[in-house]
Symmetry: C2
Subunit: 283 residues, 2 copies
């Protein structure tokens, strides 16, 4: 059935998602966008988790790699044993005491040289082509795309526009407190809010002020955001050890628990198989 | 000189600011917009304080009137003696413990019935027509307008779209913490951040992530926001006791100190005279 729909659709309008295999998940995205044509412009909001949803998060979150290289007592830390809260604290602490401008420059420099240990490519190249296609397709249909990440807002802002074509005002992330002084904004040591789990909904409420229509995530940290979203609810499942990684319930980084997978099934949320649904992974 | 420019401008393109008297302030706005045509779209950001800049703030901030009517121990409070911090706390406290949806409904109901003590009109009718014209004119020229207010973000969101045509995601205000629970977002008792003075810059950094190009304010609470903005810096001066109010250095509500007026003069910030510059005040 969906093959017929897809064939007709692509015949009429071309294929907006060429990296997606024909199947129910691709169809679901196309149908959602068709349905969205009745929405008012300001209702067209799509939210995307970043780590593990838009780019690689293994073996560690990119920002954690950066923070560890900048931490004063890095020797004693096992990045795989840090809780999400400890990671947020480490990140905010190692980034504090500098102006946002200086921080931006430092991160941009680091990103232009650091390489991923397995793929030997820049971290900003390890983004998922199929998700880029979804973002461009939604945009073309009037959607405003937002990144809603547990990662640091200012960190993501450094490259969001260049890498995802998402402007800085549409990046919602864990935020440290800042202080305006003598014409500059400085990063401080305290956390303003942690944008994870229920915090993602609270962050969306703060910055967008509306419920999203479509949400993409990949881990337990995205559950509340998907739940609160109105219509499209997608979870990227990392099941492709050859081309990327395979992990879910037993991973500390990007954990997707059996419980959430069960619940997703019950609620008819869509589990995207990287192995089956994505013809290619990276651009 | 400016009369000639204005005449030619209006002859060619019509008058986008009909409620503004011909003079250097009107000219400055028109010229700024002309200059902005070289900017990239995402650089076109204009920020507006609300109380005293977009609508009447005397005898008390509208939201303070609302909060006082909802406070449990209102009898003991003299609204004119409250500091900005005490006002923020009172507001956050009296608004806490309800879902944002319920709060929205309550505020909307109140706004549809409450009348201003002097003008006997709804508070949302006591907005400044000349500022509406500025907002529409900027918008037409590609600007994104934001409200950046010391008032409560959720309070302003209730009417921002209807009254100012500013969507909820472009309202930056003092924010209380919220909690997502069972599908709803609830207001809590604690303040997340106070969007006043340096806090306005910090709030803009959090939500927009860029420096504004044009800023409009009216009081000492707007100084840092104007300072941080790149180009246009305007202060509305309340000098019209007949049609509105006259106050500056000696007012607790919306204080515009002699020092700031002096500084504004030195830095070439524009002081808008309600009496001289505005042909009409309310729509």
């Amino acid at each position: 059935m969906y093959v017929v729909f897809l064939l007709i659709f692509q015949c009429l309008w071309g294929d907006p998602l060429p990296s997606w295999s024909e199947g129910p998940n691709k169809l679901a995205i196309l149908q959602l966008v068709e349905e969205s044509k009745n929405l008012l412009d300001h209702e067209k909001i799509a939210v995307f988790d970043q780590d593990g949803t838009l780019w690689v998060e293994k073996p560690y979150y990119t920002q954690l790699v950066y923070a560890l290289e900048n931490a004063s007592d890095k020797s004693s830390m096992d990045p795989l044993k840090l809780t999400e809260g400890e990671i947020a604290e480490l990140i905010v602490k190692t980034h504090a005491g500098q102006s946002i401008q200086a921080f931006d420059q430092k991160v941009a420099n680091w990103l232009s040289s650091a390489l991923h240990p397995r793929f030997k490519r820049h971290y900003t190249e390890l983004i998922y082509q199929p998700m880029l296609e979804v973002m461009r397709y939604l945009e073309k249909n009037g959607f405003n795309n937002y990144i809603v990440s547990g990662g640091g807002q200012e960190f993501i802002r450094v490259y969001s526009d260049k890498v995802y074509q998402i402007p800085v005002n549409r990046v919602i992330g864990t935020a440290g407190k800042v202080k305006y002084q003598e014409g500059q904004v400085f990063k401080e040591k305290e956390i303003l809010f942690i944008n994870d789990k229920a915090g993602k909904v609270e962050g969306i409420n703060l910055i967008i002020g509306k419920r999203p229509w479509i949400a993409f995530g990949n881990s337990d940290g995205d559950k509340e955001m998907l739940e609160w979203s109105i219509k499209g609810k997608f979870l990227v499942h990392h099941d492709d050890p050859l081309r990327e990684y395979a992990y879910d319930n037993d991973s500390t980084i990007g954990r997707l628990s059996h419980e959430l997978m069960e619940e997703a099934k019950k609620r008819n949320w869509r589990l995207i198989s990287m192995k089956e649904d994505w013809k290619i992974i990276f651009p």
